[in-house]
């Protein structure tokens, strides 16, 4: 460690590799679960790197390393405890949770409803169909529709009103009808 403090990279690598079993053993003794030991080992390696200037070469190295390993193991156990306190593992509740998106049945129903609406519009008299298509579906203004069709604005309004009444008569009883 003294050589690592002086910047000897090769000695540092040898030292850190030799530290791995010591750190893992220390973490296990603290009660860190097997699947978390590697996280603690990496955390300790990072901490050793950050605080390497605090090591006093006049003192033994292992107590210094073990103190860091124990501290990081305790931190990991605390994090785990907090996580368990806040999060619940309940796969059945997860599976049973309703999906806020539309279900496949709803999507089919919507397609069917649109098909019936298109058929009902197609069955309207020409003037009424034209009024619905331009004012309702294409969202043209009365002026634009009057200019395109050559009909008066009043006639277009009347046709739209009659068309909506007729569509309500055909589809109005159906749930989810937009008419």
């Amino acid at each position: 460690m003294r050589r690592a403090q002086d910047g000897d990279s090769a000695a540092y690598q040898v030292l850190l590799r030799a530290c791995l079993p010591v750190i893992a053993g220390s973490a296990r003794r603290q009660g860190v679960p097997r699947e978390q030991v590697d996280d603690v080992v990496q955390d300790v390696l990072l901490t050793v790197h950050r605080v390497r200037h605090t090591y006093d070469p006049g003192r033994p190295f292992l107590p210094w390393l073990r103190a860091i390993a124990q501290r990081r193991a305790v931190d990991a156990l605390r994090r785990r405890g907090r996580q368990h306190g806040r999060e619940v593992h309940d796969p059945i509740a997860f599976e049973a949770h309703a999906d806020p998106a539309r279900s496949a049945g709803q999507a089919l129903e919507s397609v069917e409803h649109a098909r019936r609406l298109r058929l009902a519009i197609a069955a309207l008299p020409d003037g009424q169909r034209e009024a619905v298509e331009r004012l309702g579906l294409r969202e043209q203004s009365l002026d634009e529709a009057a200019a395109d069709t050559g009909r008066s604005k009043g006639a277009l309004k009347v046709n739209l009103h009659r068309a909506l009444k007729a569509l309500r008569g055909k589809l109005g009883g159906e749930p989810g009808s937009d008419v």
Binding site: A4, Q5, D6, G7, D8, S9, A10, Y12, Q13, L16, R17, L20, D38, V41, Q42, L45, L46, T47, H49, R50, V51, R52, H53, T54, Y55, D56, P57, R59, P63, W64, A67, I68, R71
Partner: protein, 213 residues
């Protein structure tokens, strides 16, 4: 196997990042540096204080010496304990180092309070100025101490910060003796205790962020 590779990769990257580091001075020496700053501040404040009045007060109330001595000792021992405990391989029992001096300080102040219960109670303005003095002087002392302790990246941030707070607060309370008009009135003691508590809790709150291990 993949974890071993992960460790190996991390070790290589840490080694690649390796730079020579300057080792920390021994904790007692670093504590001495901070105590030196406190002593310099004390000398500066003494130059504007009425030392004759202080001497008369101490001569009139001998057990006040004990309280002053105990608060000085608390400062020194709390500072040493803070620097010791900030290092990873020092035992947690170092935190108890200032406890005897702290008990003596509390005991001597409390004893003086009981013996001199007829001493006039402090006026509200005096109490406020005591509080402001202790907290105000503690601020720069705490800031310096936390900055020095931060160099060690303490792995026990809360205990280190609390000991640092105790050192700064007891130093300020000791320096307050240079200007304090009375000794050991009950309200004094309560205000001093409150100020010390504010400083310690403030250090703990700030220390946890400053050290951020």
């Amino acid at each position: 196997m993949s974890e071993i590779m992960d460790h190996e990769g991390l070790i290589r990257s840490l080694a690649a990042d390796l730079r020579p580091v300057r080792r920390l001075l021994p904790p007692w020496l670093r504590a001495l540096c901070w105590i030196g700053v406190v002593a310099a501040l004390g000398a500066a404040l003494a130059s504007i204080a009425n030392l004759g009045a202080l001497w008369q007060r101490l001569a009139a109330v001998p057990d006040m010496w004990l309280a002053v001595l105990a608060s000085c000792l608390t400062t020194v021992l709390a500072a040493i304990a803070a620097f010791q405990i900030s290092l990873p391989d020092r035992r947690a029992v170092w935190a108890l180092l200032p406890a005897p001096a702290l008990l003596l300080w509390i005991g001597a102040s409390g004893l003086g309070c009981l013996r001199n219960w007829t001493v006039p109670s402090t006026h509200e303005a005096d109490a406020r100025s005591c509080l402001v003095f202790i907290v105000g002087v503690s601020l720069p002392l705490s800031a310096l101490l936390l900055a020095m302790l931060r160099r060690a990246c303490p792995l026990r941030p809360n205990r280190t910060a609390i000991l640092g707070g105790l050192a700064a607060a007891s130093a300020s309370a000791t320096l307050l003796n240079l200007f304090h008009p009375y000794d050991a009135a009950a309200t004094d003691l309560a205000v001093h205790a409150l100020a010390v508590l504010i400083v310690i809790l403030g250090n703990r709150a700030i220390g946890a962020r400053v050290f951020g291990t």
